[in-house]
């Protein structure tokens, strides 16, 4: 067992544990924080494999931006701070079975395909990546930029508060449980002015 392997194993264990905690934690904010750990472990794996830039990019993008975004999302959707009950419609058995099946299948595939493979580790400096990225992969890189821009615009459009939308219903402070515990029925939905259909728009014009 060489040093890379040991480090690999360690980060793997940490990352795996953190991932498990993400999906099983009762507190949503705790889940987000465990996600940070898991993603950091992934970055560590990248470092072991020699992909230095990818590792730091992982930390920057995921841990820095994505998780923060997730936290903001949690905050804006009045995520419960304390522990909450779990249990969605599907229960636990089916997801477990599917996950185990997926894991088993993947492991089987990996072992049969790459069972005896050995990686020759080499360190790739960011400069080398940069050279490849802006020369060979220039076009996809630009396209990716466009994609990100478009996604950003789309997100802004989707999340924009429109005219006529009422304020968010205030949850009753005496019964914080009841607010998110019981799903609202159709009668309490806030009335929302439907967008004028293209036909109506033409008529009114």
């Amino acid at each position: 067992m060489s040093v890379p392997e040991v480090v690999m194993l360690a980060t793997g264990v940490v990352g795996g544990a953190a991932a498990l905690l993400v999906v099983t934690s009762r507190n949503v904010v705790h889940s987000a924080l465990y996600l940070v750990v898991a993603l950091l472990a992934v970055a560590g794996v990248f470092l072991v494999l020699g992909a230095e830039f990818v590792a730091w990019a992982q930390v920057l993008v995921y841990v820095g931006a994505v998780v923060v975004l997730l936290l903001f999302g949690l905050m804006l959707t009045r995520a419960p701070i304390g522990p909450t009950g779990q249990g969605n419609e599907l229960g636990k058995a089916m997801p477990l079975a599917v996950a185990l099946a997926v894991f088993a299948g993947l492991v089987a595939l990996i072992v049969t395909s790459y069972g005896g493979e050995v990686i020759a580790l080499e360190h790739v400096p960011p400069a080398a990546l940069g050279e490849v990225l802006y020369v060979a992969w220039a076009l996809p890189f630009m396209t990716l930029g466009f994609l990100l821009t478009l996604a950003l615009i789309g997100a802004v459009v989707i999340a924009r508060r429109e005219e006529g939308e009422g304020p968010l219903p205030e949850p009753d402070p005496d019964e914080p449980e009841a607010a998110e515990a019981s799903p609202p029925d159709s009668s309490s939905w806030p009335q929302r002015q439907p967008e004028p259909t293209p036909d109506e728009r033409e008529v009114s014009a």
Partner: protein
């Protein structure tokens, strides 16, 4: 003239229709139409006779040529096997002879009935049926094919039924009519069998064609003539003759048929209808000559009948019944005669028609005067009814075959021919015929004495009948007396005589001349004389009732009184026991138990099958399939619907599972 000879039967037919339609409104109730049509028919017959008899005489005198024959026919309907039903006429000497006889006697009866049935409430209907009968009889004699003859035969039977049962209010009369009809119908079975057998053998109904084939010794298709088959057909015909001409053993209907009005008896049961059977044999004479077995049958039946009926005539109390049995006996003579000679048979038919009609009409006159049919209630009528007496006497003498009246010549002819033929049948007929002659004299003498001699024993005051009745009596007396002279067996006269008039073939006429045997004639006359003496002796004292010698013959009288138990045979044994008690219940059982059960069972089975088909096949089976289809569609839809849960995670899970499966499939595919 022969081309319009079809008018002769057509006129009475038309008059029957007209009388039915308009008779009631006419002054004499339709009788005038009947008399007019029959008179016209008679005149036409005379004219026709001149033509036909003249042609025949020309042939016999010159020795060349053929017997007159004119046929004309109209096709009515095809009946397959290349044959058709024709309506055709055949005019020859025999036809014309029958025309003369039928039209004349019918005319006399029409006139006579004016007085006899005067005041009867169904007067018009009577004349209509009389015309109908005349038309039917004329159709019978004029038809040229057996089918049409059969039609005429049956129509004659129907009109006889209508006329016998004319006063049907009295049950005895309607019973007599039914008895007559059914008994002759039994004989008609033989007739139909014979017609069909002949058709089968010769392939045609046409009499001329069949005669020609028999003459050539062939049958249908040129095959040699099968005498046995021919004999069978002709003997079947004899059954029809036995029925219609009241021969033994089917004679039982004729005496009972006296229940009808006396003019009817005169017309139908003396001169015309009962002679239809004799006529048939005469018409088919060439066939009978080729079948000796059939001729022997005729001889035997005729002989038995004439003797048996003569004996029965002795013990009758009813004057009409005496005459009826006498008719049966004389018909027996005719039938037996035709076994040996054509001319002998039809000559006797011809003469008998006149004098028997005369006798019946005379009896009618007597009954009209005495208001009773019974001989006991008569007597002493000679002084009161001279015309009737005179004409009745003439008729009686003719019947008794007293020379030179008609009966003598014709009856003598028969005896001569029988003697000439020889053999068993010939001798039989000769002996029996001679004895029968004696019997005839005996019973007629009895009638004469009991009716006209002594003093009146009945009630009331008898008087002579009106002119409408005595006129025909006189008119008939003339031919009764003289008609025998038309066939005198004088050789020089023969080519002009009755035998020549009615010949059917020159060759036959030339080979069968009318003979006269003085010996036989003498014997016959002698026997007749003996009979008269016996009658004179026995009945001179006018014994009546139980004194009547005929009744004092012990068991013989009983047998005679019971008419040889023949009636018992027919009614009890045949009708009651066999048909009513055995055959009919068997038929009913067969119908109810077997056939009805089978039919009902089939019906139930069908209903049950229908129910089963409906319940199981249709409701459960076919509908079940459809219901099953609908149910399975709904059930699968309900199951499939669950996948549309709206749950995103479920969708994701399903997709993942699919991907996993696909991955495995690809991996396995790659590995293998």
């Amino acid at each position: 003239m022969s081309s319009v000879a079809w008018l002769i039967p057509a006129l009475p037919a038309a008059s029957a229709v007209v009388i039915v339609a308009l008779g009631r409104k006419m002054p004499v109730g339709g009788a005038e139409i009947g008399i007019l049509s029959l008179a016209t028919a008679f005149v036409l017959s005379l004219v026709l006779a001149v033509e036909v008899f003249g042609a025949n005489v020309a042939a016999t005198t010159s020795g060349v040529g053929e017997a007159f024959l004119h046929t004309a026919r109209v096709e009515l309907a095809p009946i397959g096997a290349g044959d058709s039903i024709f309506a055709g006429i055949r005019i020859d000497g025999l036809t014309v002879m029958m025309f003369l006889l039928v039209t004349f006697v019918s005319l006399m009866v029409h006139v006579y009935s004016l007085g006899y049935l005067h005041g009867d409430e169904r007067f018009t209907w009577y004349y209509a049926v009389l015309s109908f009968f005349s038309a039917a009889m004329l159709l019978l004699v004029v038809s040229d094919n057996l089918m049409l003859l059969l039609v005429g035969w049956e129509l004659v039977g129907v009109s006889s039924f209508l006329l016998i049962g004319f006063w049907w209010e009295l049950k005895a009369n309607s019973d007599a009519a039914i008895k007559a009809f059914l008994t002759t119908k039994l004989g008609d079975v033989g007739l139909v069998v014979g017609v069909v057998a002949l058709w089968g053998q010769f392939g045609t109904f046409d009499i001329a064609a069949i005669t020609a084939m028999v003459g050539d010794g062939v049958q249908a298709g040129g095959a040699p003539l099968d005498t046995g088959m021919l004999s069978f057909a002709l003997i079947a015909f004899v059954l029809g003759v036995v029925g219609k001409s009241a021969q033994f053993p089917l004679h039982t209907w004729l005496p009972d048929a006296m229940a009808g009005p006396t003019p009817v008896s005169a017309l139908i049961h003396a001169a015309t209808m009962v002679t239809a059977g004799v006529f048939l044999v005469a018409r088919l004479y060439p066939l009978y000559s080729a079948a000796p077995a059939a001729q022997a049958t005729l001889a035997v039946i005729g002989a038995i009948t004439l003797l048996m009926a003569g004996l029965l005539a002795l013990v009758q109390e009813d004057i009409k019944k005496v005459l009826a049995y006498s008719t049966v006996s004389q018909l027996g003579y005719m039938v037996a005669a035709l076994a040996f000679s054509y001319t002998a048979g039809i000559f006797h038919l011809f003469t008998h028609g006149f004098f028997k009609a005369l006798l019946f009409l005379g009896a009618g006159s007597i009954i009209h005067a005495a208001h009773s049919n019974n001989l006991r209630d008569m007597g002493g009528l000679a002084k009161v009814m001279p015309t009737t007496f005179a004409t009745f006497l003439v008729g009686t003498l003719a019947l008794m075959a007293v020379p030179p009246l008609a009966g003598f010549w014709s009856k003598d002819e028969i005896l001569v021919e029988a003697a000439a033929a020889g053999g068993y049948t010939g001798s039989l007929v000769l002996v029996v015929g001679a004895l029968g002659g004696a019997l005839t004299v005996l019973y007629m003498t009895r009638v004469l004495y009991l009716t006209f001699a002594g003093s009146f024993r009945g009630e009331g005051h008898p008087h002579e009948s009106p002119r409408s009745m005595t006129g025909p009596l006189v008119a008939l007396a003339v031919p009764a007396a003289l008609i025998g002279l038309v066939n005198l067996p004088v050789e020089a006269f023969q080519p002009y005589a009755f035998s020549a008039w009615t010949m059917f073939s020159l060759e036959y006429w030339q080979t069968h001349p009318i003979a006269f045997e003085p010996a036989i004639a003498a014997v016959a006359v002698g026997l007749a004389l003996a009979g008269f003496l016996a009658g004179w002796a026995l009945y001179r004292a006018l014994p009546l009732g139980d004194d009547d010698p005929a009744r004092r013959l012990g068991p013989v009288s009983t047998v005679l009184a019971e008419k040889y138990y023949l009636d018992r045979l027919w009614t009890d044994l045949v009708t009651r026991t066999i048909v009513r008690d055995t055959a009919a219940p068997a038929a009913v059982t067969l119908n109810d138990e077997v056939i009805d059960r089978a039919v009902a069972g089939a019906g139930r089975a069908t209903v049950a099958t229908g129910r089963r088909v409906y319940d199981d096949v249709d409701q459960r089976g076919i509908d079940g399939v459809l219901h099953g289809l609908a149910t399975s569609t709904w059930w699968s839809g309900a199951r499939l619907r669950l996948s549309q849960s709206g749950n995103v995670q479920l969708y994701a899970g399903a997709m993942l599972t699919g991907v996993v499966v696909l991955a495995i499939v690809f991996a396995v595919g790659e590995v293998s």
